[in-house]
């Protein structure tokens, strides 16, 4: 583990992070490298501009939201532990990692993942995706060929599909249910979750 380990020892709180997020040391080291690579001018933390340099993100219609998700409200800097914590959302769900009713859920649990996505859409953080928020996303995602009227009906339709309590907005619960339903693969989905 020679070189790897020496790097690992340089990372502050690596052990705690691993414990918390379930990353292996190798993962942590790699993430740290990536973190440092992103941090272009070596200031020790990341800021939104650093993320903007990632090509894949720049292409994304909701890139600003994704970047925003890394920065908790109001903050402009991101340190390594938070970086890792956010990325832990993307670890695959551990099938045989048991549920612990007493402790908070693992970051990479299904519902936390969903919550993460949900927050990308829920811009005003009121726990609901409103029609306006949907429209914003649709506008960025679709080309000009689609008329505003169609956009609105798409948004209405989306809400109508997911909305269970008829409040014209998608709450997290509804969002979750929505995503548990996989079109034409429903049986498989249910079996795995």
């Amino acid at each position: 583990m020679g070189s790897t380990n020496s790097t690992l020892s340089k990372i502050p709180n690596a052990g705690d992070l691993m414990q918390e997020t379930g990353f292996s040391p190798a993962h942590i080291v790699r993430l740290y490298d990536r973190y440092k690579a992103l941090d272009k001018d070596k200031k020790g933390h990341l800021c939104p501009q650093d993320f903007g340099a990632i090509k894949e993100l720049a292409m994304n219609p909701i890139s600003d939201r994704i970047i925003g998700a890394f920065f908790s409200s109001g903050q402009e800097v991101l340190d390594f532990p938070s970086f890792v914590r956010i990325l832990a959302h993307f670890r695959p769900v551990d099938k045989n990692r048991p549920k612990d009713p007493n402790s908070p859920e693992h970051i990479n649990s299904r519902s936390n993942k969903l919550k993460f996505i949900f927050q990308l859409y829920d811009q005003d953080k009121d726990g609901k995706i409103s029609r306006q928020e949907l429209l914003q996303v649709l506008r960025t995602m679709l080309e000009k060929q689609v008329t505003e009227e169609q956009l609105e009906s798409i948004a209405d339709r989306t809400i109508q599909e997911a909305d269970l309590d008829r409040d014209d907005a998608i709450s997290f619960d509804e969002f979750r249910k929505n995503s548990l339903w996989c079109p034409s693969r429903s049986i498989k989905c249910r079996a795995t979750d």
Binding site: M1, T4, N5, L8, S9, A14, G15, D16, M18, Q19, S24, P25, A26, H27, K55, E56, M59, N60, P61, P92, D94, N96, R97, P98, K99, D100, P101, N102, S103, E105, S109, R110, S111, Y121, L134, V137, M141, L142, E143, Q145, V146, Q150, I154, R157, T158, E161, A162, L164, D165, R166, D173, R176, K177, N178, S179, L180, W181, P183, S184, D193
Partner: protein, 909 residues
């Protein structure tokens, strides 16, 4: 010791999977711990006296364990610093968590060692089984302990504490496997757990072995990872190998799946033609060129002297006369030598076999593709519940890092939304049903009339042209009447149909199918006239040939008579005539071949020119004249062209029909077709991207383009008929082609059977050809088809029934949810389960259920409501009233996880 740590390191480096597992194993212990603790305390409260002995055990064990752990730790610190780095954090954390727990017994709160956990897990196990007596439990505990004790000693220097836990896990799973029979579970669940446990044991037993086993395990894991990676790479490679995938995807993203379906069809066609091409060229053309007699050696391979002067002229060559006609492209060039070259390649036989094989292969491929598509088509219902929501939240591909790809993705998202909108519009359209029906009937009536009229027109014109054929001094119109009428029909018909189809107002996808079917019917008339004309020609040629044959036979006899009269000693030398001077028959096969090749070529020209003028030029004009025109050309009348799916598909299908019919008489035709398909792929892709605009209503093509395939199959069958007819009943030309000199073409087969196969094979074949055998065989096949059809019908019905049921269940569920404003997934799941299990006694799931209920925090009332609903079955009452057992422990509101786990908690956790 260093060796062991090495392995550990290897394991570490090898990867994520192991890490994950080990981690999870480590994590596993904590919840069990807690569960165990709870039961342990309860137990103690209930019957302290009887538990004393056990408690002592428990107290004792952890001490020993801790000591062992300490000892181990020291050793590790001394010898392996690297290792401890990895080792300590989890252990420390585990310790922390344990310490943080309130309400544990002294021994528990102090315990840091692993054996402690084990005991607790025992407790938990007991809680789960309940059927087992305490005696049982105790013995289990002790056996487990002793085992792990041994394990602990053995491992001593082993890298992680996790190993011990892993060991326990494996032990536990093994135990589970052993007594799964006794568990009061449903069979399904038992099987599931059994399978899981076996998998687990298989996976980790190796990791716990000593020395070699461990290494082997590490190696296995490494290989597994490599294999997975290889598989992934291979998949990527396979995708990269699909020709034109990128092009088609690009078209699809801009024009929708309907246009893409044409290109996919084109690609499929190219693949099939490539096989036909390799068959024909590999087994017929190339052997003849390599091993057959060279050009100019015999009359059929030589241009006649009369034509030699112009044989190289461009105009002659483009008509496929001159050197083209006497080349390996056409039937007439082939020699009737039984074998060619040193390989004794039986060329005539091969020629016939390839001719038949072309059809056989095509039939097989078309039908197989259809069957496969039908399979795909059956799988995806139109039952997508959350179409828009899914598109909305999941359509972006987060791996896209290329600006162009991103553009395509934007386009494709837009297109797919549009497609969904069209589908949706169609679903919601329910105005005047009667009017719609009336209009549709009317439209079909009109179209039937049109088709009938055009059919009669064709028949009439053909009749007239046959009359004209016998007359002289015709006007230009009378000469070309047939062609003019046919092309007019081909031009007007589709437009007329399209106009009439507006009446019907079908979904564009269905409208396309109707349109295709109708134009197909119209074009069949085209085919009919063409074939009729061809047969007339063939018959004329046959007559002509008969006279020439007689003449040439007479000539030969004369010559021989003279020759033998002059030199009585010598017989059998051929007359010393240059091959180009020999009198020869018209060779109708080559004529037919030339007709087909010409037709194909002109078809290619027309198609390409249409694209160039109708699309490209139009686009240019619209684009650039728009700057100086009085109205907006782009939005107004000419506008840009749309991609004509029906026309293109039909063009492709009919072209393929020509190829199938002509390939027997012109082996080179397949090569031409391959080139055509190849160029048209690039050309049309370019044209569609450069000069067309997407359809006004972009619609989603049906996943299986079985309709295209159906048309193709029909055409294949139709083109099979004339070819088989000529092979079976027309005599081949006497002086050209591989079958010359034979009565019928298929005589090659009988000849081969007689000459090359042993005698008994001949008799065998003659028996097989006996009508007494063939008729029963056909009957049997018909019966088999009937039976299989009935079976598939039955399956289809069952399938539909199930689909309906699923849909109903889902609707019901949705309604219920909507009505009651309840969103508790767990309860829903439970409700679904209840009626099935009502006859079973207490089950762990049910007991666990109340615990998760509060998962949807603050919905207590709803919970009650749901429960009462579930109580419809009186048997379940016992279950549910027992509910408020363990208290609701802080689940996060809306946690999906515990809810779902709660519905079916695996005992291993």
């Amino acid at each position: 010791m260093p060796k062991n740590s090495d392995i550990a390191r290897k394991l570490e480096e090898v990867g994520i999977e192991i890490d994950g597992e080990v981690d999870s194993a480590q994590e596993n212990s904590t919840p069990k711990n807690k569960g165990g603790k709870r039961t342990a305390t309860e137990k103690r409260g209930k019957a302290a006296a009887s538990e004393d002995g056990e408690d002592e055990d428990e107290d004792d064990e952890p001490l020993r364990g801790r000591r062992a752990a300490n000892r181990r730790k020291v050793a590790q610190n001394e010898t392996l610093e690297e290792d401890s780095d990895d080792d300590i954090p989890p252990r420390r954390c585990a310790g922390n968590r344990r310490r943080g727990k309130p309400g544990g017994s002294a021994a528990e709160s102090g315990g840091g060692g692993k054996p402690n956990k084990r005991n607790k897990r025992g407790g938990k196990k007991q809680k789960e089984d309940k059927v087992k007596g305490k005696q049982d439990e105790k013995s289990k505990n002790s056996s487990e302990d002793s085992k792990s004790e041994r394990g602990g000693e053995e491992e001593e220097s082993m890298s992680e504490g996790e190993r011990a836990q892993l060991m326990e896990e494996v032990e536990e799973k093994k135990k589970l496997i052993a007594n799964i029979r006794n568990k009061p579970w449903r069979m399904k669940r038992r099987l599931k757990h059994l399978k899981e446990a076996q998998l687990f044991v298989d996976k980790f037993e190796g990791a716990l072995g000593k020395g070699k086993g461990r290494k082997l395990y590490a190696y296995k894991v490494m290989m597994m990872k490599k294999w997975i990676k290889f598989q992934r790479d291979f998949e990527n490679f396979k995708t990269a190998c699909i020709p034109w995938e990128r092009k088609i995807k690009e078209v699809e993203s801009h024009f929708g799946s309907s246009v893409a379906s044409y290109f996919i069809f084109l690609r499929w066609m190219y693949g099939m033609n490539l096989v036909l091409f390799s068959l024909t060229f590999g087994l017929v053309v190339i052997p003849e060129l390599l091993m057959g007699l060279p050009y100019g050696s015999i009359p059929r391979k030589t241009v006649p002297r009369a034509e030699q002067a112009t044989a190289m002229d461009y105009s002659v060559l483009t008509d496929f006369n001159g050197y083209c006609k006497y080349s390996a492209l056409f039937y007439g060039y082939y020699n009737n030598q039984r074998t060619v070259g040193f390989l004794k390649f039986r060329l005539p036989l091969s020629y016939l076999m390839v001719g038949i094989g072309t059809f056989g292969y095509s039939l097989m491929v078309v039908i197989r593709t259809m069957a496969k598509n039908a399979d795909v088509g059956g799988g995806d219902g139109e039952d997508n519940e959350f179409t828009f929501a899914w598109k909305m939240f999941t359509s972006w591909d987060y791996l896209i890092g290329n600006a162009e790809t991103a553009d395509n993705k934007y386009a494709s998202i837009t297109t797919s939304f549009k497609e969904s909108i069209v589908d949706e519009q169609e679903n919601q359209k329910d105005e005047n049903v009667h009017l719609r029906r009336f209009l549709r009937v009317l439209a079909n009536l009109l179209i039937t009339c049109t088709l009938g009229g055009s059919g009669y027109l064709i028949y009439f014109v053909v009749k007239r042209s046959q009359e004209f054929a016998n007359m002289d001094n015709l006007s230009w119109y009378e000469k070309n009447e047939l062609e003019i009428i046919m092309s007019l029909l081909g031009l007007v018909g589709p437009m007329l149909f399209e106009t009439i189809a507006e009446l019907e107002d079908y979904h564009p996808r269905i409208a396309l199918k109707w349109q295709l079917g109708r134009i197909f019917a119209l074009f069949l008339g085209n085919l009919y006239t063409f074939l009729l004309a061809l047969f007339d020609e063939v018959n004329a040629k046959l007559e002509e040939e008969k006279s020439i044959k007689n003449a040439s036979i007479w000539f030969m006899q004369e010559y021989h008579a003279n020759y033998t009269a002059n030199n009585p000693n010598d017989t059998g030398t051929p007359p010393p005539i240059d091959p180009s001077d020999v009198i020869r028959g018209p060779c109708w096969e080559t004529t037919v071949g030339i007709e087909f090749v010409k037709l194909t070529i002109s078809d290619i020209q027309v198609t390409y020119l249409t694209i160039l003028i109708g699309d490209f030029l139009r686009a240019l004009i619209v684009r650039f004249l728009n700057y100086c025109w009085c109205w907006d050309l782009e939005a107004g009348w000419p506008s840009y062209g749309e991609f004509d799916i029906s026309g293109n598909v039909l063009g492709l299908v009919f072209n393929q029909g020509m190829i199938w019919m002509g390939a027997f008489y012109a082996p080179g035709l397949v090569g031409i077709n391959v080139l055509r398909l190849l160029t048209s792929m690039y050309y049309q892709c370019w044209a569609v991207m450069a000069c067309n605009v997407p359809h006004e209503r972009v619609f989603k093509a049906s996943k299986s383009n079985n309709f295209y395939m159906g048309l193709l199959l029909l055409i294949l069958f139709l083109s099979l008929l004339p070819v088989v007819y000529t092979i079976m009943s027309l005599p081949p030309s006497f002086d050209c082609g591989p079958f010359s000199g034979k009565e019928r073409m298929f005589d090659v087969i009988t000849e081969t059977i007689d000459l090359d196969l042993p005698a008994f094979m001949g008799t065998l074949f003659s028996y097989a050809a006996n009508p007494g055998l063939i008729i029963p065989a056909i009957l049997l096949m018909v019966l088999a088809i009937y039976y299989l059809n009935a079976v598939s019908e039955g399956y289809k019905n069952a399938n539909m029934e199930l689909k309906k049921k699923m849909q109903m269940a889902r609707d019901e569920e949705k309604n219920r949810r909507n009505n009651k404003d309840s969103t508790n997934q767990v309860l829903k799941d439970l409700e679904d389960l209840l009626p099935n299990r009502s006859n079973l006694p207490q089950k762990p799931e049910e007991r666990k259920a109340p615990k998760v209920k509060p998962g949807a925090a603050g919905k207590g009332i709803n919970v009650q409501k749901d429960v009462s609903l579930a109580l419809a079955n009186p048997n379940t009452r016992g279950l549910m009233t027992q509910a408020p057992g363990p208290k609701p422990v802080g689940c996060l509101p809306g946690n999906a996880g515990p809810g779902h786990k709660g519905a079916a908690p695996p005992p291993s956790h």
